[in-house]
């Protein structure tokens, strides 16, 4: 039985408070009017002029050209930049909320796969996985708040929600998005969002309830019930994840589409989820509460991390290469800010963090069995995939004026605090040894 140490509890609460303060600061200091934007852009311009003469001459050229532009167009541009900068604290919130929620959900998927496959090796890790999935409930609530705020126009994260997009008489009318309006409209989008989250929560609740009941009775009927639930959940999840990624992430760029997108998001979050299982397991083993977990279990988790890192890179490249080769303007619009524009560093840099680094570190059998190797690689992988979610959301919402500042770091800290607090208080509630599971013996004597 694990007890939630006071030190860790204080640490997680401190993270939450710090994060909440930072997020509040981010929301309060976001620019309010186009006047603020004018000032910001002006400051940047004068900064650029100071940089060098060559640059300055092009600036002058540009401003001479823009004199012919109407004042209305300039006002539109300012409003656009204003919306982007107002989006920043919301986008930072969304990145963190989505990242941690999907870790919880994907751990539940991994857990369900263990049930459906009747895997023997992983039973000693079941309570750890269940503990991590405890985050799904608070995570869903926090994310749904964001969805509601977007649905009720408190931010401009989703451009297709703007007024007049579906109205042919409006100047905001967009025929391409209007063609998708049977699917992409705010009420049904909110209902679908609720359905996804509801399904994740109900299956988490049922699987956990049965798993605990199995401990007390050892009744094989409960085992079969959980097996069936796990199979249904995997199928449901596969379908829902497809549309969830389209709804929440791909619709940020409503003109662009990629059929691979959902698998890409899945791969990214799957490797993060398994990494979190490995990190929490190593931590708990160090505390001495997982006496049956040996190096072979860690080795297997390391193998999954290795495998899914390659899986992720495969999708990253597939999605990129097809559109790079075809070179169709509406496709490349998505890749332009990432490959050539201002998001080049995170987009290319994460390949090193998420693919090159884990592949070389985790290739050797011995390094997968060495806990501190797995910890270091795991932290790099988690950081890399956080950047991955960041670059999925930011280019379409915040645009070229992005930076890593208070809103981004504060959101990460806040959600990390909630995550740590929820999973460890859930883990401390029940014995960590799932003694009722019929395959427990196999897991206990599992040695490589």
């Amino acid at each position: 039985m694990y007890t939630f140490s006071g030190k860790l509890k204080t640490f997680s609460i401190a993270l939450m408070i710090l994060g909440a303060l930072g997020m509040g600061y981010g929301f309060l200091t976001a620019p309010k009017t186009t006047e603020d934007i004018k000032e910001i852009l002006h400051q940047e311009e004068s900064h650029d002029v100071a940089q060098g003469d060559e640059h300055a001459t092009t600036e002058v050229h540009a401003s001479a050209d823009s004199e012919s532009h109407s004042a209305e167009a300039e006002q539109n541009h300012l409003e656009h930049v204003l919306h982007q900068l107002q989006n920043r604290p919301w986008a930072a919130y969304f990145v963190a909320a989505f990242f941690f929620l999907m870790i919880g959900v994907l751990v539940l998927v991994f857990y369900a796969i263990q049930w459906a496959a009747q895997a023997g090796w992983s039973i000693v890790l079941f309570r750890v996985m269940e503990g991590i999935t405890a985050y799904i409930l608070p995570g869903s609530i926090l994310l749904f708040l964001f969805l509601l705020a977007s649905g009720f126009h408190l931010n401009h994260i989703y451009v297709w929600m703007a007024e007049g997009t579906f109205d042919p008489t409006s100047e905001n009318y967009d025929a391409i998005i209007d063609g998708k309006s049977w699917w992409l409209n705010t009420p049904s989008w909110l209902i679908r969002g609720f359905v996804y989250l509801f399904v994740y929560n109900i299956f988490r609740w049922l699987l956990r309830k049965n798993s605990i009941a199995l401990d007390n009775s050892g009744d094989v009927k409960i085992y079969k019930k959980n097996f069936n639930l796990a199979v249904i959940f995997i199928v449901l999840y596969a379908i829902l994840e497809l549309f969830m990624s389209f709804d929440w992430l791909m619709s940020l760029d409503p003109h662009w589409y990629s059929q691979l997108y959902s698998f890409y998001v899945f791969a990214s979050m799957m490797v993060s989820g398994i990494t979190v299982i490995a990190l929490v397991t190593i931590y708990l083993r160090k505390k001495g509460v997982l006496p049956f977990v040996n190096d072979k279990h860690i080795h297997d988790l390391g193998t999954y991390m290795f495998g899914f890192s390659i899986f992720w890179a495969y999708f990253w490249f597939d999605q990129f290469m097809l559109q790079w080769y075809a070179n169709i303007p509406e496709d490349t619009a998505y890749f332009f800010p990432r490959l050539i524009g201002s998001y080049q560093l995170p987009f290319i840099g994460m390949l090193i963090l998420n693919f090159v680094f884990p592949i070389f570190i985790l290739m050797d059998k011995d390094s997968k069995k060495t806990p501190w190797f797995v910890i270091v690689t795991g932290l790099v992988i988690l950081f890399g995939h956080y950047i991955d979610i960041f670059q999925l959301i930011y280019p379409a919402t915040v645009g070229d004026n992005w930076s890593i500042g208070v809103p981004e770091i504060a959101s990460l800290l806040f959600f990390l605090g909630v995550f740590i607090f929820t999973i460890f208080s859930s883990i401390s509630k029940v014995p960590l040894h799932a003694k009722g599971n019929p395959f427990m013996k196999e897991s206990e004597i599992y040695h490589g």
């Binding site: 490249f317 990129f320 290469m321 790079w324 080769y325 075809a326 290739m363 059998k365």
Partner: protein
Amino acid sequence: MSNKVIQAMYDDDDVLLKAVKETREANHHIEEVFTPFPVHGLEKAMGMKGTRIAIAAFIYGLTGLGFAIWMMNYMMIEDWPQNIGGKPNFSYVENMPAFVPIMFELTVFFAAHLMVITFYMRSKIWPFQKASNPDPRTTDDKFVMEVELSGNESELSDFLKKTGAIELKVADKA
């Protein structure tokens, strides 16, 4: 000198595994074990060193990757620059994404084929090689353990019988 071995036959892999452990504990030298299928944990019980084929595979893979990089550069950039889909055909770096599938395939191709060939060479299975298993039944459902005969023959025979051998045969090791 004694080049003789005792070939002890077993009819169950669990019994064989136990016999291998007991024989080694009694300080007899096991020359070879013949089995119709891979027996899990046998190498460990026999005290064999871990295989180095993983390192070989890594080197083969890098060879394939290097070959693919060189090949695509020679074929598509140097020898006969080809303009496909308007991609810049005089620059390797800007054309690189198109070559990645080939790099991947050749890495796998080299690693897989050279690994199989290495395995055959190390196991001395090349064309026209005669089968070296002492009894054809080891390709069906029996297991044979070859133990070096260095001391008293009847003593070793008794010992092997006790470990569950169903048939014993003394043979000359060439």
